[in-house]
C-alpha cells in the first residue's frame, strides 16, 4: 500500500523529531512511507483567519500532491481535521486525498488494527486531548489504547483533559493574554497528576503547554505520542 507522509509546516520546521519518530514507528509496523517534498502547509492558518481563497488554493495543491497515495498519515490531529473535515466544504467536493488523510494514532489503531508497536517507556505520563483530535476527528480511545501497550508506562488521567490548552493557531498571538491564561489552567491540571510527562497527538498544543512549563521552570516535559511510541 502506498502511504505518504503529511508533515505539517511547523513540525517540519520546529519539531522534526516528531516526524522522524512517526516514520520509525510506521516502519516498525511494516509501513514504508514516502514523503512528497512539494508539500508545505494544509492552509489552516489562512482558513482560520478568514482567508478562505488562500486556503482553497492550498487545499487544491495538497490534493494534487497527495493524489497518488492510498493513505496519508500526519502527526497532527489539527491538520488532519483541516484536510478531512474542512477541505470538502472549501472545495465543494471530496478529493481522494482529503478523504484518506489520517491522524497518526487513528491510522495505527483504526486503519492498521495495531495497538502494540513494541514500545517501552518507564515513566508516568498524562494525556492531553487536543481539541481537533477529540471533537473534529472523534478520537479519544485510540491514543490511550496505544499508550496502554507501552511497557512500563504509567498513564495518569488529568481532570479536564479535553479542555482547550489555549493555542488555537493565530489566537495564541492575537489574544495572548487569554491564550496564556488558558495554558495556565491546563498546566495546573497537569501538575495535579504528578506525571513526569504530558503527551498529546498535536505538537501545537505541546508547544503551547511546553512554552508555559519552560517559562515557569516546571519539571514536567512534553512529548508527542510518536516520541513515546518510538522508544524501545
Amino acid at each position: 500500500m502506498r502511504v505518504a507522509l503529511f508533515i505539517p509546516c511547523f513540525i517540519d520546521q520546529f519539531y522534526p523529531k516528531v516526524g522522524k519518530a512517526m516514520v520509525a514507528v510506521l516502519r516498525r509496523v511494516g509501513v514504508d512511507p514516502v514523503f512528497p517534498a512539494e508539500q508545505t502547509c494544509c492552509g489552516q492558518p489562512a482558513f482560520n483567519t478568514g482567508y478562505w481563497n488562500e486556503a482553497r488554493r492550498l487545499a487544491e495543491r495538497y490534493c494534487e500532491i497527495f493524489a497518488d497515495a492510498e493513505a496519508i498519515v500526519s502527526p497532527s490531529g489539527s491538520c488532519t481535521a483541516m484536510v478531512r473535515n474542512f477541505y470538502p466544504e472549501l472545495l465543494g467536493r471530496t478529493p481522494h486525498a482529503a478523504a484518506n488523510t489520517f491522524e497518526f494514532a487513528e491510522f495505527l489503531v483504526k486503519k492498521l488494527g495495531v495497538t502494540d508497536v513494541g514500545a517501552r517507556f518507564p515513566a508516568s505520563v498524562t494525556y492531553h486531548d487536543a481539541c481537533h483530535s477529540r471533537r473534529e476527528l472523534g478520537l479519544k480511545e485510540e491514543p490511550r489504547r496505544l499508550l496502554a501497550k507501552v511497557r512500563d508506562l504509567q498513564l495518569v488521567e488529568m481532570d479536564e483533559s479535553e479542555t482547550c490548552c489555549g493555542f488555537g493557531g493565530t489566537f495564541s498571538v492575537k489574544f495572548p493574554m487569554i491564550s496564556s491564561a488558558m495554558a495556565g489552567v491546563k498546566v495546573a491540571s497537569i501538575q495535579r497528576t504528578g506525571a513526569q510527562y504530558v503527551v498529546s497527538a498535536d505538537s501545537s498544543c505541546l508547544m503551547q503547554i511546553g512554552g508555559l512549563l519552560k517559562r515557569r521552570q516546571l519539571p514536567v516535559q512534553t512529548l508527542h505520542l510518536a516520541e513515546v511510541l518510538v522508544r524501545t
Partner: protein
C-alpha cells in the same frame, strides 16, 4: 483597531489575570457541570433529546413566516394585542406608548435579555417611569447599576458579601451574609413593588404558535407575579422564539431546564395567552406582545448561519467556553455573550465593531458539542472571520502577511529556504519584536538545525523504494488497510 476591540482587549487583559474572578467562575461552572450531568441521566438518551430539540427549532426558523402569522392570529383571538417592531427604537416607542396610555408610573420586570438588548430600562427611566428588576440576580445588578453578568445567572460574579453590602447600603437592610436572610430581604422589599406596579414587563422563553401563548421559565416566581398583579402585561419577544405547538414544550422545557441549570423543570413553567379572560377573577386588563426583529431577519437570511436563531438561551455554550471562563461576561460588552453572542452580534450590530469577538476564540468546539439545539457555533465563528475578510475589515498588515504566506507555501523549495532563514533569524534573536506576543508569557522551542524535509532529503532518499524493505515487526499477513 475599533474602539470596541480595544476595550475588549484591555478588559480581557485585566480579567484573564484576575485569579479570584476565575476562581468564582470555575466554582460556578463546576456546580453547573455536576448538576447538568445528573440532569441528563433523566433522559433515555440525551443525544436523541438534542436531535428532537434541534428538529423542532429547525422547523420554526425555516418556516418562520407561517408560525409568526399563526402565533399572532391565535393571540388576537385570545384577546391579546400584537405589535411588530423593526428595531430597538420602535420597540421602545411601542412600549412607552402602551405605558403612557395607561398612566403607568411603575413597572415590575422579569429577567429578559431582549429587554437588555434594546436598553428598555433607560428608555423607561427617561420617560419618568420607575422600572424594577425583580429577578434576584438582576435586582442586585440594578442596585449596582451594572448589566447582567451571564445569560442565566446574572449575579454569578458576586459573593454573599457583595449582596450583604448592597442590601445594607441601598436598602437599609441589616448586615447579614446568610443567603436565606438576604433572599428574604429582597422578597420583602420587592413585594411592595409587585403589589403597586401598574405594568409588568417580561420577555418570553418560547412563543407557541398553537395555541398562541408565550412560555416563561423561572425558579423564583417573580415572572408569575409580574404577569398576575399589574393591570397591564407587556411581553417583548424576539421573532425567533417561535415553537409550533404547546406539545413541543414537553420536550423543550426539560431540555432548556437541563442544559440551563440541570433541572428537569424549573420551579415554574408558565404559559400566557391573553389578558384576564371572561370568568377569571384576576389578571391584567390588557396583554401586549411586541415582536422584535432588530437584525434577526438579517441572520435569518444568512442560510449558512440561520441555525443560530434556534438558540433557546440556555447558557450551555457560555458554561463550556474557556474564553468565557477567562474573561467573564462583562468583557464582551454586549448583550449576548460567550459563543452564541460572538456568533450573532456581528449580524445584529455590524461586523465592523463586533467581528473581533469571532477571533477571540481558539475554536476548541466545546460550545458546538454541548449546544442542545445543534447550532454549529464554532463553524459560524470561522464563517464570521471569512465574512470579515470579505468585507475588507481585516487589518492591512494581516492581508499582506497572508499574501506573503500564500507565496511562501506555494513551493516546497521556497518553503524550505524561507524556513531555514526563519530558524536562523530566531537563533540569532533578531525576530524578537515579532515573537513578543508569544514570548511575553511563554518560551519558544529552540529552533532545530535541520528541518524534517532536510533530514529526509539527506538520509532517506538513498533507501530502496518503499515496499521492498523487510521491516523489523509486521502484523501477521503484512500491513493491511482497513
Amino acid at each position: 483597531m475599533t474602539s470596541t476591540e480595544k476595550s475588549f482587549r484591555s478588559a480581557a487583559t485585566v480579567k484573564s489575570a484576575d485569579a479570584p474572578h476565575r476562581a468564582v467562575i470555575r466554582r460556578n461552572m463546576a456546580t453547573y457541570h455536576t448538576s447538568v450531568a445528573r440532569g441528563k441521566q433523566r433522559f433515555l438518551d440525551w443525544e436523541n433529546a438534542r436531535a428532537h430539540a434541534a428538529g423542532i427549532k429547525w422547523e420554526v426558523v425555516n418556516h418562520l413566516d407561517r408560525y409568526l402569522e399563526q402565533f399572532e392570529s391565535n393571540l388576537v383571538k385570545n384577546g391579546a394585542q400584537v405589535h411588530w417592531a423593526e428595531d430597538a427604537a420602535e420597540a421602545k416607542a411601542i412600549i412607552l406608548e402602551i405605558a403612557r396610555s395607561h398612566g403607568v408610573r411603575t413597572v415590575v420586570k422579569s429577567k429578559s435579555m431582549v429587554t437588555e438588548e434594546i436598553h428598555l430600562n433607560e428608555a423607561l427611566a427617561a420617560a419618568g417611569i420607575k422600572s424594577v428588576e425583580t429577578d434576584l440576580g438582576e435586582f442586585i445588578c440594578q442596585l449596582r447599576d451594572e448589566p447582567p453578568y451571564h445569560l442565566v445567572t446574572p449575579a454569578m460574579h458576586l459573593s454573599r458579601t457583595d449582596f450583604s453590602r448592597e442590601f445594607h447600603e441601598k436598602l437599609g437592610a441589616p448586615v447579614t451574609e446568610d443567603p436565606e436572610e438576604l433572599t428574604m430581604i429582597a422578597r420583602r422589599w420587592l413585594r411592595k413593588d409587585f403589589l403597586t406596579a401598574d405594568m409588568g414587563i417580561t420577555g418570553a422563553n418560547f412563543a407557541v404558535a398553537d395555541p398562541g401563548m408565550i412560555a416563561l421559565t423561572e425558579n423564583e416566581g417573580n415572572i408569575r407575579l409580574c404577569f398576575s398583579l399589574p393591570r397591564v402585561h407587556v411581553a417583548l419577544v424576539g421573532i425567533e422564539k417561535l415553537v409550533p405547538r404547546v406539545e413541543d414544550l414537553a420536550l423543550l422545557w426539560p431540555v432548556l431546564g437541563t442544559a440551563g441549570t440541570g433541572q428537569a423543570l424549573t420551579a415554574y413553567s408558565s404559559l400566557v395567552g391573553g389578558p384576564r379572560a371572561a370568568g377569571e377573577i384576576d389578571g391584567p386588563e390588557e396583554f401586549h406582545v411586541v415582536l422584535l426583529d432588530n437584525g434577526r431577519t438579517r441572520l435569518l437570511a444568512d442560510v449558512e448561519q440561520r441555525d443560530a436563531l434556534q438558540c433557546i438561551r440556555c447558557g450551555a455554550c457560555l458554561n463550556s467556553c474557556p474564553i468565557y471562563e477567562s474573561v467573564g461576561g462583562y468583557t464582551y460588552a454586549t448583550t449576548y455573550q460567550g459563543p452564541i453572542g460572538s456568533v450573532i452580534t456581528p449580524h445584529l450590530r455590524g461586523y465592523a465593531d463586533w467581528s473581533h469577538l469571532s477571533y477571540a476564540s481558539s475554536l476548541c468546539g466545546a460550545c458546538t458539542s454541548v449546544c442542545p439545539v445543534h447550532i454549529d457555533l464554532h463553524r459560524h465563528l470561522l464563517q464570521n472571520r471569512r465574512n470579515a475578510v470579505q468585507q475588507r475589515l481585516d487589518p492591512l498588515y494581516q492581508r499582506v502577511a497572508f499574501r506573503v504566506f500564500r507565496w511562501l507555501v506555494n513551493s516546497g523549495r521556497r518553503f524550505a529556504i524561507v524556513g531555514k532563514l526563519g530558524r536562523l533569524a530566531l537563533r540569532l534573536g533578531i525576530t524578537r519584536p515579532f515573537t513578543r506576543p508569544w514570548t511575553a508569557t511563554r518560551d519558544l522551542p529552540p529552533p532545530p538545525a535541520q528541518s524534517f524535509r532536510a533530514w529526509w532529503a539527506a538520509t532517506q532518499t538513498a533507501r530502496p523504494p518503499a515496499g521492498e524493505t523487510a521491516p523489523a515487526q509486521q502484523p501477521p499477513g503484512g500491513p493491511t488497510l482497513r
